[in-house]
């Protein structure tokens, strides 16, 4: 349970500087994972930092009646000149885990799975490796609420899978408050949503409603909801639709890149996230098609020795997805 009461926050305390967050009143129940949505500069990361206790509000208060993690993200938290192992040790010590320190190091090492780089200075890491380490480190502690600031945005497919499994294993015991531009990620992890718009916060019990409200507050673009497919034909159709949407998103992004910088509306970054989201959906649709073909193939194999028909569509899509 996290209670936010009459919270005000602004930067540069000069007279007349605008509130980033203005009179926020929220109560985030225990065990509910929440996605934070809003445009760039709407104060998502600021709110997350305030919840995590990294920053202090100008007015109002935040009552944390649970163990809250630090914001898991890419920036900060590590000393570049020290190795991954030394950094993990440091964080474990700060959290008072003096006796379990070896176990924590072993657990983080195996989760992050970055091999020998664990004993190299952090400044030599790629952003993917940093996020693996940051993610593994935060999961080594038993928090009630994990704060994630785009932590899942990087990393390869395999690691994303691993991270989401680790989180799902904790549902019921722990919840998540996350900032992400990837709607797929938000849908996957969050039940409720908070929309930040012009300094105000709006609570939605359903993440879908929050995503819809976010888009209608923005430019009116509403992403189609995922349809459930029942057979191969429907799956193929969904794949074709996903492909078309991916192409459209790609074209929109290209067009925005051609026009003068900064004049594009919606901004280029939004388009990029939209493209990523479309790509995720192509992958998802392709997986469904593969599932159905495999099922069909098994049935056929049970009947006779003839080979299942080769599906060429997913080769095409993977090439398309790689292009960006």
């Amino acid at each position: 349970m996290i209670d936010i009461r009459h919270l005000y926050k602004r930067y540069h305390n000069h007279h007349g500087s605008q509130w980033v967050l203005e009179d926020i009143n929220l109560s985030i129940p225990a065990g509910v994972s929440v996605g934070l949505l809003g445009r760039n500069g709407a104060g998502k990361s600021t709110l997350l930092r305030l919840i995590g206790g990294m920053d202090t509000p100008d007015r109002g208060e935040i009552v944390r009646a649970s163990r809250v993690s630090w914001p898991i993200g890419l920036a900060g938290g590590f000393q570049g000149s020290m190795t991954g192992r030394q950094n993990v040790k440091f964080v474990a010590r700060i959290h008072g885990a003096d006796d379990e320190i070896e176990e924590i190091i072993a657990a983080v090492e195996s989760f992050a799975d970055i091999g020998r780089a664990f004993d190299e200075p952090i400044k030599t890491y790629s952003s993917g490796m940093r996020s693996r380490l940051a993610f593994g480190l935060s999961l080594a502690f038993d928090f009630d609420v994990y704060l994630s600031d785009e932590a899942t945005a990087v990393g390869d497919r395999h690691f994303k899978q691993k991270a989401s499994e680790a989180f799902k294993a904790r549902i019921g015991r722990a919840s998540l408050i996350m900032v992400s531009h990837g709607e797929g990620v938000l849908r996957e992890f969050c039940q409720a949503g908070i929309l930040l718009d012009r300094g105000r916060a709006f609570w939605f019990d359903e993440i879908e409603d929050a995503i819809e409200a976010y888009h209608s507050a923005g430019d009116g673009y509403v992403p189609p909801r995922l349809a459930t497919v029942r057979n191969l034909e429907e799956a193929k159709q969904a794949l074709a639709e996903a492909n078309a949407r991916f192409d459209a998103a790609r074209e929109a992004l290209d067009a925005a890149g051609d026009s003068a910088a900064g004049t594009a509306d919606p901004p280029e970054e939004t388009l990029r996230w939209r493209l990523d989201d479309a790509r995720e959906r192509v992958h998802e649709a392709r997986r469904q098609v593969q599932q159905f073909t495999a099922r069909k193939g098994r049935k056929r194999a049970a009947r006779g020795p003839d080979r299942p028909p080769k599906n060429t569509s997913h080769d095409k899509t993977s090439a398309k997805a790689k292009r960006s």
Binding site: M82, R93, G96, D142
Partner: protein, 271 residues
């Protein structure tokens, strides 16, 4: 695999004092490693740098001034004691100046406060300098430089006083230097005049009588001269050396520094 990563540490509810203690311990280990192991030959330079400074100073003195005694003390040990005492103060102040900025990334963990970084750095710096001073005494004695304190307890007390002064200056300067970057620059510029006005190289007894009163405004003069009196039998110095004056400065600076840290804690973190 995901299931290999069971949470092994419960983030138990701890008291403020226990949190502060574990933060200090963690920061200390980390600072100690990065100070001594991070650079190539970190250990070597830590010992060789002050040694080289002492060597240069002693040879300059040998070139331009005659006599090997200063107010009843051999000039090499006299210089070593002065430089070590001044170095203790200066390093505490200067290391603290960069402490907050160097550890910005760590404020991601809400347990770490800006004041912790300064306290830990000053503690580590004092420990390193004390170790170094003891080692110099040992080596000096082996080389027959008469580097054994006459009143060890007096020297210890004066050493701790200079440390406290450096600690107070460090706490104050770290906040001001972070809020107003120009302030840090000014402090760096003031280093050299301070060295000359503290009687480290130029003996205070050489200063003409009318100017001695002004010299005594500098608390470092009191600390260094008092330490030399305790160190060398038969050393004589100005009459008005008073450790109470130094402690007045040290306690004022400590109080001011801590107050500034409390007042500007949020601002220092947010920068």
């Amino acid at each position: 695999m995901a299931d290999s990563l069971l949470p092994v540490a419960g983030a138990r509810r701890r008291g403020a004092w226990r949190v502060a203690r574990s933060v200090w311990f963690a920061m200390f280990m980390r600072e100690a490693i990065s100070r001594t192991m991070a650079d190539r030959m970190g250990w070597f330079w830590m010992i060789f740098e002050p040694l080289a400074i002492i060597g240069v100073m002693v040879s300059i003195r040998g070139l331009f001034m005659s006599g090997s005694e200063i107010s009843g003390a051999d000039h090499v040990p006299w210089m070593i004691v002065g430089l070590m005492g001044f170095g203790l103060f200066r390093e505490n102040m200067m290391r603290a100046l960069g402490a907050i900025d160097a550890n910005k990334g760590l404020f991601a963990y809400r347990q770490v406060k800006p004041v912790d970084t300064v306290l830990v750095r000053c503690f580590l710096e004092g420990m390193l300098k004390s170790f170094l001073f003891l080692m110099f005494m040992l080596i000096g004695n082996l080389l027959q430089f008469e580097l054994m304190p006459d009143h060890p307890l007096g020297v210890l007390l004066d050493w701790l006083s200079l440390w406290a002064l450096g600690w107070g200056a460090g706490l104050t300067v770290s906040v001001l230097g972070d809020l107003v970057p120009e302030f840090g620059r000014v402090v760096r510029i003031l280093n050299l005049p301070l060295l000359l006005l503290s009687g480290v190289i130029l003996p205070v007894m050489y200063v003409p009588y009318p100017y001695r009163d002004y010299l005594l405004w500098n608390p470092l003069v009191h600390g260094l001269e008092s330490m030399r009196v305790a160190f060398f039998p038969g050393y004589h110095t100005l009459d008005d050396i008073d450790m109470t004056y130094l402690w007045f400065w040290a306690l004022s600076l400590l109080a001011l520094g801590l107050l500034l840290h409390i007042r500007f804690a949020a601002k220092l973190k947010a920068h």
